[in-house]
Amino acid sequence: MIVPARILALLRKEIAELARNRAALLPVVFVALITTALPFFIAVATPRISGHPLSHDADLVHALTKVSGELPGIDRLSAEAAVQAFIFSRFLVMTLLVPVTGAITFAGHSLIGEKIGKSLEPLLATPITTTELLLAKVAGAMIPSLAIMMCTTIVYMIGVAALAEPGVLRALLSLKTALLVLGLGPITSCLALQVGVLVSARVNDPRTAQQFGALFILPLTGLFMAQMSGVFVLTVSTGLLVFGGLFGAWILLLFIGVKLFRREAILTRWK
């Protein structure tokens, strides 16, 4: 039986610890800044500095024609605004890197950090079950990661409203964006965290866990490249399909994590 009060107790401790260790947030904030600033540099700053509008780039225009149907009202935008909307919508995928980075940073330390600090044994001596422990550890890292991702998205949208051509923001405010930010972001983060926590429970070194978590950057980067080239278009239906697949994978990983988490081995073999 899962006791939410115990999950909440450990979750509060995780958040309080993170609040005291702000340096751990730096990699996440850094990635958030990069993923937010990069599209503005490409779509807004570069054309202004170079004097060459984006709409004059044949490759971009060609890629735009492949996906124009998924951006609402794009046909009513100017040529420059349409290309900007295309770029800003593609880079939204990159915001998924924020919670994934958070996952890599926090999950790698989750159980190993407890072990190194010698706080794992007293914690395991409480009535907390393995499922409760793993859920609290995942949630404890996911909540701050997602909070930063949400802040990043809000700043991103405010930046688009302030700096991009008129109508670009409207084109971004779609069901797909909502799915990306509220669905795919959290579930990708959750999955990366679960992998991190799982690996963290089996290895002695936080870097090993981080390296496994970092594997999640590869498919995200691939998704971004495929989107930019127009090879793959993330529509609402494909997004929902991906969400379902990732959710299923997370449940499976949680189950495997509980099975693989061996208190005895952690206590007696970790040095």
């Binding site: 009060a5 309080a16 610890e17 005291r20 914690l123």
Partner: protein, 310 residues
């Protein structure tokens, strides 16, 4: 309160604990003695529900220790691990509050406030754990162990590395727990400490070499010895003592007779009477107890008196 029957634990080919049987009653302190790697921590972890025995049975506070009940067993146990294991970046209060919540104490905040006062930590409640001395950390860890008022308390090297003052505070707290009716197992290398606090001790070296009170162990290994201090030269009175039933008589210093005697309660007055009649002026009469350290070393170095286990 704690009943362990033939507990064994193997890790691969290595047997850490073998056929360990003991009971601890409510209001009793049981000292677990043994060299490094003797299986003390493994035994405590089995009783705490952290690792399962390979064979044997145990029950804690009436709950049998099985894979199904192991979470329930942990509700009844307070386990002070060898290292305090505090969350260093959190305050003392937050450390305790988290554990009170994990144990689902009815009013966590009140329980923490009470524990802070009980363990003299109230003025350090908002200090970060990392700022505390080792002795203070151990007090916090002890407070954490007792937050949910467990009937069974397991203490793994509770005074290890503490200065004498801090160690004494911790020891006094342990004695206080006995008075409150907790069943306590204390694992320690500190034989003086075991002697001071434990009602019974078990000398462990993978298996129990002996389980008894410190006094019983002494008696079994060395017999009972008495020391009589005179105001004058003791050597001339050795023969008098021997005639009165004393054996293995030794003159210590100039004015002291030590000897073994079969029945200390009946035999000692007879020896004293004989000495007085022979004209000796007696300053003091007391048991000449060997330190528990000698008992321990005799058991561990020999590692053969398995028949002593009771």
């Amino acid at each position: 309160m704690i009943a362990a029957r033939h507990l064994s634990r193997r890790f691969g080919d290595r047997t850490a604990v073998e056929d360990v049987t003991f009971d601890v009653k409510a209001g009793e302190i049981f000292g677990l003695l043994g060299p490094n790697g003797a299986g003390k921590t493994t035994t405590l972890r089995m009783i705490a529900g952290l690792i399962a025995p390979t064979s044997g049975d145990a029950s804690v506070a009436g709950v049998p220790l099985t894979s199904r009940t192991i979470d329930r067993v942990r509700q009844h146990v307070g386990f002070l691990t060898e290292a305090p294991g505090l969350w260093e970046r959190l305050s003392v209060r937050m450390n305790l509050l988290t554990y009170a919540r994990l144990h689902q104490v009815t009013d966590p905040a009140a329980a923490v406030t009470s524990a802070l006062e009980r363990f003299g930590l109230a003025d350090r409640a908002d200090s970060m754990a990392v700022e505390l001395s080792k002795g203070m950390k151990q007090r916090v860890a002890l407070a954490r162990t007792l937050l949910h008022n467990p009937p069974v308390v397991l203490l793994d090297e509770p005074t290890s590395g503490l200065d004498p003052h801090s160690a004494r505070i911790v020891r006094d707290m342990v004695l206080g727990l006995r008075q409150q009716g907790h069943a306590i197992i204390i694992s320690t290398h500190n034989l003086d400490e075991a002697e001071r606090v434990a009602d019974r001790v078990g000398v462990l070296r993978r298996r129990f070499l002996a389980v008894a009170t410190p006094g019983e162990l002494r008696h079994r290994l060395f017999g009972t010895r008495v020391r009589i201090t005179l105001t004058e030269d003791a050597a001339p009175f050795a023969g008098v003592a021997a005639a009165a039933g004393a054996t293995d008589i030794k003159v210590a210093g100039r004015d002291m007779l030590t000897f073994a005697i079969e029945d200390v309660d009946a035999g000692t007055p007879a020896v004293v009477r004989a000495l007085v009649l022979a004209g000796a002026s007696i300053l003091s009469v007391r048991n000449d107890d060997r330190p528990l350290e000698e008992v321990y070393l005799a058991l561990v170095e020999d590692d053969s008196p398995g028949e002593l286990a009771s």
